[in-house]
Structures are given as C-alpha cells and as structure tokens.
C-alpha cells in the first residue's frame, strides 16, 4: 500500500524548518508504524519546493528589514547571514527522519502520453465543463493509477480532477482509494479519528452503567464505528456530545445506537440512547436513559483569558 500525495495536501503557508507541519508529521508517523510507503510524485515535490523557496525569500526579506530597523534605532545585535538562517527544507529527509519509507516517483514517458491524451480529448477524470486542462493534475492521476495497480494506493488530494466521480471506475479497477484530506487518509489506514477518540474517552467510564441497565454489551467493548459525532463546547470543556455508534454485541453480532451525553463540569450526568438495534432487531422499545455521575478528564482551558484578550483587541467597540 502506498500513500500518494498531491501538492494541495502538502500546502503550507509556513516555512518548513526542522519539523514537518503537524498533519504531515502525523501521517508520516502512522505510515512508519504501519509500513505504508509515502509516494511523492516529482510533480508534487517541485510545487512544494517552489512554494518553500518563495517563503524563504519572504523570511529573508523580513529578517533584513528587522536588521535595518535595529540598525536605525542604533540597537546592537549579532547579525547573522540571513541566507544561512533560512534555507529551502529537504522535505523528503524530514519524512524519512520519522522512519517512513519515501519514494519519489518520476513520471514516465507513458504517463506523459496518457495525461496529454486526456487533456486534449477532455477524457476522464476531468469534470465536464472544466475550463483548464491542467496537465499537472492529470499526470498525478495517471501516476497514482499506475502506483495503485502495484499493491494498492490512497491518493490524498482535494483537487476536483482527482476527486470527481468520473474517476470512480478507473480508481476501482486500479485499486486506488481517494481521500480529500490527511484525516480521511489516516482513517482509511485504520487510525482512530479525533471524534472517535473523544467518544471513546466519554464512553469508557459508563460502559458498566449501561450493562447495569441491561444493555447487552460484551465484557470487552469493540467500538467499530463512530459516525455523525458532534460536540458542544461549554465554558470549561465539552458540555454535550451526540453521535451514532456501531459496536460488537454480546452475541458477537452488531449493536447500533444513537447516543446523547450531557456533561456538567467534569462529570457525565445523563446518557440518552435511541434507535438501539441489536443483531439487526430493535432492542426493547429502542431507547434507554440513564443518570450517572462519572468523571471524564475532558476539561479545557478556561475561556476567560481568551475572551479578555479578544475584548482588548476589540477595545472601544465593546
């Protein structure tokens, strides 16, 4: 399995220095853990490097302006050569440093011919009516198909050409999965989503309460899927959560339900479960409500300091 990166998911407005942006760092760490190879088409790498070069130029200008301001103010300081302070990062090395295997994929002549034909003849996967025949996007598409045919692949891209349903058939045939952000890509690799993690933290203290209320839960919970999870932020942390979940039932089948959780301070107080379906059948009347008092360690920082900082900026508008 390979993860193929388009430039838009690698885009950052910040100069990359000693560390990859956090989302790329997470991706690389997970790929290293699971043995997934990161494939970076040369086309993507060139774009990333171009952007980083622009950012280096901006950073050097900014530093030189600061030097000049200090000199004009006659403030002494140690002046370093600005072009030595900022340099274009070696993105590939930063990935490799995290233990992940990285392949730079060069487009082949066949890739160019294929992309050229698609551009000229407006062939799939370009959406109908698209004004620009972007060879770059088509080249990455052709390369992703080629790579996926050899052991499967996930193309991480937000580009319309790469995500349009006109590419479905080709992607399926080649074994190419598509994700429009790194989070979705990580989920395809089986990494727990932030929503799933939060739901698990909320549910861990109350499983026994639910068993006590006769919900047919197995001794060990196997949370299989969390969907439609939303949370409401309170003054200090989360004050309510709502989600649908799928988990293994006591008989080894599937239990599905919609859950509402109310939290006061650091304690879960009310749990309302609806549409409870066990092994394909509605459980009792499908609903269960429990009141409890279980502590959950989900306290966030107080919003008071942040509000004061915002009010200070808004100033007289208050």
């Amino acid at each position: 399995m390979k993860i193929i990166l388009n430039s838009d998911v690698m885009f950052t407005s910040k100069l990359i220095r000693a560390r990859l942006p956090s989302r790329l760092h997470d991706l690389a760490t997970e790929c290293a853990r699971t043995g997934v190879v990161i494939a970076i088409p040369r086309t993507t790498l060139l774009e990333v490097e171009r952007r980083q070069k622009e950012l280096v130029t901006e950073a050097i200008s900014e530093l030189e302006r600061a030097y000049n301001a200090l000199k004009e103010a006659e403030i002494s300081f140690e002046e370093k050569n600005s072009s030595e302070v900022f340099s274009v990062p070696d993105v590939v090395e930063l990935f490799k440093h995290l233990g992940v295997k990285v392949e730079i994929v060069e487009p082949t002549l066949e890739d160019y011919h294929d992309a050229h034909l698609r551009a000229c003849l407006h062939l799939n996967p370009q959406p109908p009516g698209r004004k620009s025949d972007e060879m770059r996007d088509l080249l990455i598409w052709v390369m992703a198909l080629r790579l996926a045919k050899d052991g499967g692949g996930i193309l991480l891209s937000r580009d319309e050409v790469h995500t349009h349903d006109r590419g479905n058939e080709e992607a399926d045939t080649a074994g190419l999965l598509r994700a429009n952000d790194i989070g979705e890509g990580l989920e395809l690799l089986g990494v727990e989503s932030p929503s799933g993690k939060l739901v698990r933290i909320l549910l861990d203290p109350i499983w026994q309460d639910l068993r006590n209320a006769e919900l047919p839960l197995p001794p060990t919970i196997g949370l299989r899927k969390v969907e439609n999870a939303t949370f409401v932020r309170g003054e200090r942390g989360i004050e309510s959560a709502k989600f649908d979940l799928h988990l293994g039932s006591l008989s080894g089948g599937m239990l599905k339900a919609s859950v509402d959780i109310a939290i006061q301070g650091e304690d879960i107080t009310d749990v309302t479960i609806r549409q409870i379906n066990v092994d394909g059948e509605l459980w009792r009347d499908g609903a269960l409500t429990i009141r409890t008092n279980k502590n959950v360690p989900l306290v966030a920082s107080s919003s008071e300091e942040a509000l004061a900082a915002l009010r200070e900026v808004l100033g007289e508008e208050l």
């Binding site: 950073a59 932020r233 900082a309 900026v313």
Partner: protein
C-alpha cells in the same frame, strides 16, 4: 480598532477581515477568533483558536469544523490559521505571519486605514477598504 494581522496594519478599521458575514480577529498571542455577524446579536464561533462556548463542533485531525443545525459551515486549522468554507461558498482564508491569503490571492504588507471593513470576502470576490455592509450585527462580544 488598530491591529496587525498577516503583515497588514489595520488602523481605525472596525472589522479587519469580513469573511462572508463573519469577522476574523487576531489577538496579541496571534490566536484567531471568528464572530458571526449575520444574526441580530454577534455570536462568537471560534475563540482564540478553539471552538467558542455554546458552539457545536466536530474535531478533525487538523483542527475542527463548526456546525449549525447539523450542517458543517467551515473548518478551522489552528496550526495553519486557515479557515475553509464547507457550505458557505467562500474562498479559503489563511492568516500567516507574512501575508493574508484568500483563495489564490495573497496580500502582504498593506496599510488599511479609516474603513469600516479592511478586507471583505464574499462569494463573488474580494474588496480592500470599504463600508460595513448593511444588516450586520455590531461587532461586540
């Protein structure tokens, strides 16, 4: 208000960036807040890079999505300081130390003085320096 955001100086500007009907403000610790002005009373949605109290959100790997009535409106990546429209029909907006990027347009190093709105972003375009559109709530929290 007077503030520096994304290398721009906003002097005597009431709303530095108006993204659709949402004001974007950066505090002195470079954290962004988003305030919805489409309702009769201004409503804080993002406070200092986090979901504001009372707001429904969905965490994501990069940050979180802000929802209303179950509909994801936009996502916010606090590391990249990037707002991405999910159903508002607006171009992305990103505040970096050196520039403000809106869609594929990059603005840097400007000084905008004496306007109701510094940079206004709509579904149809971007304007720099203009009056506050009618029908918006007062920017107050």
């Amino acid at each position: 208000m007077n503030l520096k955001m994304g290398s721009h100086f906003f002097n005597n500007v009431q709303i530095p960036i108006l993204w659709g009907k949402r004001a974007i403000i950066q505090d002195k610790k470079n954290r962004l807040s988003v305030i919805d002005l489409s309702t009769p009373k201004a409503k804080l949605e993002v406070l200092a890079d986090e979901p504001a109290p009372g707001i429904t959100f969905e965490p994501s790997f990069a940050g979180f999505k802000v929802l209303r009535d179950g509909v994801p409106l936009y996502s916010y990546d606090p590391t990249e300081k990037r707002l991405e429209s999910l159903s508002l029909g607006l171009p992305d907006c990103q505040i970096s130390p050196w520039s403000i990027r809106i869609g594929s347009n990059q603005f840097s190093g400007n000084s905008i003085s004496g306007f109701g709105v510094g940079i206004a972003v709509t579904e149809n375009g971007i304007s720099v320096g203009g009056p506050i559109p009618q029908g918006l709530a007062q920017l107050a929290i």
